[in-house]
Symmetry: C3
Subunit: 275 residues, 3 copies
């Protein structure tokens, strides 16, 4: 864990010094929070929706974030184009399979994205299980997404996450009370955080967007782990007694913007556990 | 009013214990605030835009919120599908006729929604008057929507609101300095609140979204009344002298997230008046 | 500068007393912040996306704001319709050429908007240079937009800004560490502000939206200058040591909502410089 802590710390440092531009294709509910979280951790943010922007955006970006929430019809063309452009231009990309399983369009898009093998997949337990099932990687447990919320436990998605990582060769992050981040070689639990994250919308999406920022400067596993640790730390530190949900949101994003490389290195050794 | 206060209080309690999922079809300006307000009062939020998601979303949701602001072309198909799915699956749904009368698409959608008889209609006075007129329920006063703002008084929309309630069999809420909530049997004024709500965008939309949360656990009238009371209480309590608009927004949503059943019961007896 | 300070002060006063409605066509990332900034300075906000709303929106609005970020397919029809409606109904309109040069759709829209001669063009240096180039007004320096960020200095865009002003007959505002506001007769530098504006998304878009509010009650140059000064003042005053990005955002919008005519008049004499 000490070695990983140093890698995570270096990732945070490199983002602070290089301010990588991340291109995002994301949903309308949390698009503002995604951009603000990406800026808070030191990245730069640009968002697009049209197919003709897939290549130009991937071209100027260091990494790409694709989130399948609140789809518009054009997403059926745009999101596969965006993933294809990331692959062709060898930019790491993060997939956030929000509400996987809900509606034919979303299912169709997710199936088409399989071939482009995302460097990081981030979702809650139910989304991870549903995606593995949609991709035909594992058929035992299907996952039960209720709207955008998980009804399955993080641990129950472990097999699905491993199957996804085996297919992509990248990292998979399962978000929940305790996060799990893994790739084909390693797996890590991340403790801490706060229940208050459930009282605001966009904690998951913006975490995916932040992992994309970190993936611009490091390998997929380290980037996903850095994102998970940053969120656990920033949310845990934000909580106060009898706190309202928007004061929490402000304190949480404030903390993301104030997090430095030394702090995350120390926190990683406490909150992270190799499994 | 004492009986209504108890019903409102029970509604707040039931939402806190069951965290009902509400599916929303809403505008891009305030979609984030709608979701955060729904989460703040204890609901869960999921948002969609595509017709193929109408049935699956209604299926997993306890109630549905439909807001006709900032339409995209697909809304001409999606919003009627969403209302139809709510009706077929017998999920209560709330209509927010934002900017009623502006543009042919919006008019066409609102006319098509008439047949699905929303359980709650929430709007400002001008929107309520315009909707009653569009639905051919009352032709004397047409309502004058200026953008998204009312130019008519709440009291002047009373006849329109009653005509709408007569058609739907549900509740109608007119938002303004003093709110009116009514159905075919009862009508109630709700006092209190704050002028500061006009300094932020989305007070109306998010109120509609919160009424949808409450409608998941109670009858339409009680749900609309609970929403109106929650907003009057949370905004009134948020105000401080020389307060900026975003500090107000934070305090307001904080209060929504901290509101409990006892508090709203007491407040209802003070701020509500049967008419 | 004293005369300009008085004109700016009068603009702020007139907006406070008349609360002009501004119709906006803008991107999804920052649409909420644009509306809230417009409300904060005393305007009213309404947003649209459909071509059939172009005329009705321009009709009820005192001015129009058009921002080409995060385009949907319908924008190819809507944005030219919106600009055409503004011109026909003689409402001042502001163009925000966000990410100019990125993607064929955006380029096509921006070229089509040329004929409607915006009263104010607001962008960062790279966007201003790229727009002048796209409009064939100046071919030497092309501008290098990276996502939504400028890679060129404000001063390097001066020639492009002058060329644009010559074409439109209106004002051009270049945003950066020091802003430049000019028209065919005058040019002004605006100092002050805060680097923290880069840590939140939407500082540029919402400034364009605020300039549209001010243009509802004054000439283009004064409106653009008032917007620039308001942003420099509100952001500068918001900053505290070790401040997180969301606390800054709250304080910044708070300040916009508390800014009065006297304060901006004094600030203008200090922060503004005729060149």
């Amino acid at each position: 864990m000490e070695q990983l802590s140093k890698a995570v710390s270096q990732t945070v440092r490199d983002v602070h010094s290089s301010n990588p531009l991340v291109g995002s294709w994301t949903n309308f509910v949390t698009i503002n929070l995604v951009a603000n979280a990406q800026l808070a951790v030191g990245g730069r943010a640009a968002m697009c929706f049209l197919p003709d922007e897939a290549k130009p955006l991937a071209n100027v970006s260091k990494s790409i974030y694709i989130n399948v929430g609140t789809l518009q019809p054009i997403a059926l063309q745009s999101l596969p184009e965006a993933a294809k452009a990331a692959e062709e231009l060898q930019k790491p990309w993060v997939l956030d399979p929000v509400a996987a399983g809900l509606g034919d369009s979303r299912t169709s898009i997710l199936k088409e994205l399989k071939q482009y093998k995302p460097d990081i997949i981030r979702g809650n337990a139910s989304e991870i299980m549903t995606l593995a099932n949609l991709w035909g990687l594992q058929t035992q447990s299907k996952g039960n997404v209720e709207g955008v919320d998980a009804t399955d436990s993080v641990e129950s998605a472990l097999t699905s996450a491993k199957a996804l990582a085996l297919w992509t060769g990248g990292a998979v992050a399962i978000s929940g009370e305790t996060d799990i981040v893994l790739d084909n070689k390693r797996a890590c639990r991340v403790y801490g955080g706060s229940e208050m994250l459930k009282k605001i919308t966009g904690a998951g999406c913006s975490l995916g967007g932040v992992m994309a920022v970190y993936s611009a400067v490091s390998d997929a596993f380290t980037a996903a782990l850095a994102g998970s640790l940053a969120y656990k730390w920033a949310s845990q530190k934000a909580v106060k007694e009898n706190m309202g949900s928007f004061s929490f949101q402000t304190a949480f994003i404030d903390n993301l913007s104030l997090l430095d490389a030394e702090t995350i290195e120390k926190y990683a050794q406490k909150a992270g556990e190799l499994i």
